[in-house]
């Protein structure tokens, strides 16, 4: 469950809802808002701090790390994870690196044509 909370915080940072330096809810306030236990939120905040996403000042609460490169870096890390996963499955299927690159190009092309189509609808 703490992983879901971490994901939610990172998403808010990623899309810019929570800019660098923004004060985030206290552990207890977050727990009440999400209806999850205090200890779970505490765990999520600790891990987020370890990853450098938030900074906790004792007695003052937590803020989003005052680092303008944070949001792109979070996305970059997520991309890296997905690519790794794709590469592993590609290996299992016996795809060559070129095959894998082609598949990625196809997906990317499909998405790029899908998006304008949706906008027209």
């Amino acid at each position: 469950m703490y992983l879901q909370i971490m994901e939610q915080v990172k998403q808010k940072v990623g899309v810019g809802d929570w800019p660098p330096g923004e004060e985030i809810p206290s552990i207890r306030a977050m727990a009440v808002a999400l209806r999850v236990s205090v200890i779970t939120v505490k765990r999520a905040y600790l891990e987020l701090e370890r990853e450098g996403v938030i900074v906790t000042q004792h007695g003052k609460g937590s803020i989003i790390a005052p680092d303008p490169g944070l949001a792109p870096r979070l996305y970059d890390r997520e991309l890296e994870d997905h690519l790794e996963h794709a590469a592993r499955i590609g290996n299992l299927l016996g795809l060559t690196e070129d095959d894998l690159a082609d598949r990625l190009r196809e997906v990317s092309a499909r998405l790029n044509t899908d998006i304008p189509a949706k906008e027209n609808a």
Binding site: M1, Y2, R28, A29, A31, V32, R35, V36, S37, V38, I39, T40, R43
Partner: protein, 301 residues
């Protein structure tokens, strides 16, 4: 101020057909403990001892720094208690009950009570006998919450509630905890509720506490490890294996002292680790109870 709101030390109570055996329990102030057990495991007896309603044969019980049952009258000023067998007066209205409680407890907060009426969708002019089960539970909870007790003791508060009412009740319990000086102890058969809102988890089975820890530690310790074992390899000896399931080639280990280093130990033994899965509280509870029961049975046999 005492940092423990509830402390049981070696508490026992013997009945002709049931024994509550050597119970140790600690509930830190500001947290919620979920007290989980099957029917007849000893949950209600433990709660009655906590409330001073049943006297233990041995051991000491301290609640909010008061010794139970000796100082129960003083302790109960600050305890809100809701249980299923608690009866409200059927022919009286909820409003009458609210007035009654208010006249006894100086901590009663009318504004909070009104807010709860609204949130729980209850009306003061309703007579208790006309309420549904869910409404009765919410009414009893309202009467306890609006006193702003330092300790809430709830015996199966979510049993028999529909999903909407359950959600409202859990949200209100969480809202209590915004104040770090308040503490909740609740028993439940619903491991989902416990997994969601509790900080501390205690499992009871057949009158004994079989595990008690903070939830994150609890969930981290338990894992299911799925292995693929080559024909000549043997299963590595690991601490805390509670159950070995699956087939001999594809064993599934249930482990209660999981450590990431175990993955390497399995690989060193020639086994391929296919997956390490986290377990839900429900799965943990069942595995825990089953393994304890099997081991006590093998000792008896």
């Amino acid at each position: 101020m005492n940092h423990l709101s509830v402390q049981f030390t070696s508490v026992s109570k013997r009945y002709p057909h049931f024994t509550l055996d050597d119970i140790d329990l600690e509930l830190p102030t500001g947290s919620i403990m979920g007290f989980v057990g099957a029917n007849g495991a000893g949950k209600s007896t433990t709660i009655r001892i906590l409330m001073g309603l049943v006297h233990q044969d041995r051991g000491t019980v301290e609640v909010l720094g008061r010794s139970m049952p000796a100082d129960q009258a003083t302790a109960k000023r600050d305890i809100g208690f809701v249980s299923e067998d608690m009866r409200l007066y059927g022919t009286a209205t909820l409003g009458w009950h609210m007035e009654f409680i208010r006249s006894i407890y100086p901590g009663w907060e009318q504004r909070y009570a009104d807010k709860l009426l609204h949130r729980f969708d209850l009306k003061p002019e309703q007579k208790i006998k006309g309420l549904s089960h869910g409404q009765r539970v919410k009414a009893a909870l309202l009467l306890a919450l609006a006193r702003r007790p330092r300790l809430l003791v709830l015996d199966e508060p979510t049993t028999g509630l529909d999903p909407v009412a359950r959600r409202e009740v859990l949200a209100e319990l969480m809202a209590v905890l915004i104040d770090e000086q308040r503490t909740i102890f609740f028993s439940s058969q619903n491991t989902l509720d416990v997994e969601q809102i509790c900080d501390q988890i205690t499992f009871i089975d057949r009158g004994r506490i079989i595990d008690s820890a903070n939830k994150e530690i609890f969930l981290d310790r338990w894992r299911r490890v799925r292995l693929m074992l080559p024909p000549d390899a043997i299963l590595p000896r690991l601490p805390g294996i509670v159950e070995v399931g699956g087939s001999s080639r594809l064993p599934v280990l249930t482990i209660n002292q999981f450590d990431p280093a175990m993955v390497a130990a399995c690989q060193d033994a020639g086994a391929a680790v296919q997956a390490v899965d986290a377990m839900t509280l429900e799965e943990i509870f069942i595995a825990n109870v089953q393994s304890r029961r099997e081991s006590t049975e093998s000792v008896v046999a």
